[in-house]
Symmetry: D2
């Protein structure tokens, strides 16, 4: 589990005055990134070792508004989804009030550099904590 605190940028807003929906997926990415760094396995190293984690499926529920400069807190967790996919769950809330902003998940294929699915390495399965 990883917690990341960040602020809504002006570029994240749209004319409705809250964050534009697609930005949630960029925030989720930042959450995945910092979670993997925290676990001692930055995604950059995965790529250097020839692994790729393309997003396979994504789901988002938009639960509340977040205005420019609001401080948000994102909680990211990691698990396996079946034997061949990695799943990250994200929840974003207002840092001050705890009011929910959005939540969702992304499922990732585990592939080589050509996009061909591969058997997840043992360290990855262990990392995801499934003990499969």
């Amino acid at each position: 589990m990883h917690t990341l605190t960040f602020r809504v940028r002006y570029s994240d807003t749209d004319q409705m005055g809250t964050y534009y929906n697609a930005r949630a997926l960029e925030w989720f990415e930042a959450g995945r990134n910092e979670l993997l760094r925290d676990l001692g396995r930055p995604y950059r190293e995965w790529e250097a070792e020839g692994l790729r984690l393309p997003v396979y499926e994504a789901h988002i529920r938009f639960l509340g508004t977040a205005e420019y400069d609001d401080e948000l807190r994102m909680i990211t967790t990691l698990s396996m989804s079946g034997r061949a996919r990695l799943r990250f769950d994200n929840r974003i809330e207002q840092a001050a009030s705890g009011q929910p902003v959005c939540e969702g998940w992304t499922e990732h294929a585990i592939t080589d550099t050509t996009g061909r699915p591969i058997r997840p390495p043992a360290w990855l399965v262990e990392l995801a904590g499934t003990g499969d």
Copy 2:
């Protein structure tokens, strides 16, 4: 049903060489926009009349790659989801080969300018073709 053809911009790509996942939601938005214009009810007019359609939930399945400058075709359809929400389904494929790129949907609350859910106007229900 609306069909929109467009090209992948350089700004849509990431270092994996295909489109960045969050861009799918921006494309879906363009599909909704042109569908509503085609139906004779541009979303801009909805906003002028005090209606808002904030995204409530979104789902995306990433089915294939799309490289810079690839011509893509997006098919967008509209329906009601229950009595109070609007749903758009999007499917994007390679224009030349028909190979799938991604598909998904967004569900939208129907609210006034303060974000309070309202009963959908009759013309909207008719537009969505449910005849509820």
Copy 3:
């Protein structure tokens, strides 16, 4: 000279109600792209031949607002800047009224795939119409 007509997306707006400033550079890219296609030399082919055109310098003047769904017209022109750089000039205006939205330019190095500057090929110099 190339003219491209497009609409402001919701994702292009920010809470000020006009387009977010960085979007101008994405629009300029679309202008460059379609200009080169029109000239019979799509940029994709340049990359396939081992050429790259990284942006070296960019300048933008923001001249007027553009709201969601406004139809805009962008005029893009191409020239050499000295013997070693390519320059694109962009001007964006409201399609209906001709009111200026923004204008600017980007200068591009001409490099190989490793980022090393190369002597521009003869066809490129000719394309840029300088006859140097």
Copy 4:
């Protein structure tokens, strides 16, 4: 003068493997934002008081690459440009090596909520340190 350290997100990259050019302007915005907060005058308060700072002109020089997950350091400074405009200068470099990534500036009109230029309040002129 304000220093902000941040990492290149995957969404900031393009298929050339470095950051996409328009992202520099989003980073500059984050720099302005944190500078003003540091000065005790968060931009959010400006907006609440009826002031707006629309970008009037922007200039960027792209000086070096920055890859996914690189840690970057941005230095932002503030000054008046003439009597009626505010100017921010930004410089971004690799945090570890100090290698330049990009630099540039944005000039901002000072307006009311309708976009009409106004005489800058005394506190703002003082903030910008010009003593005009």
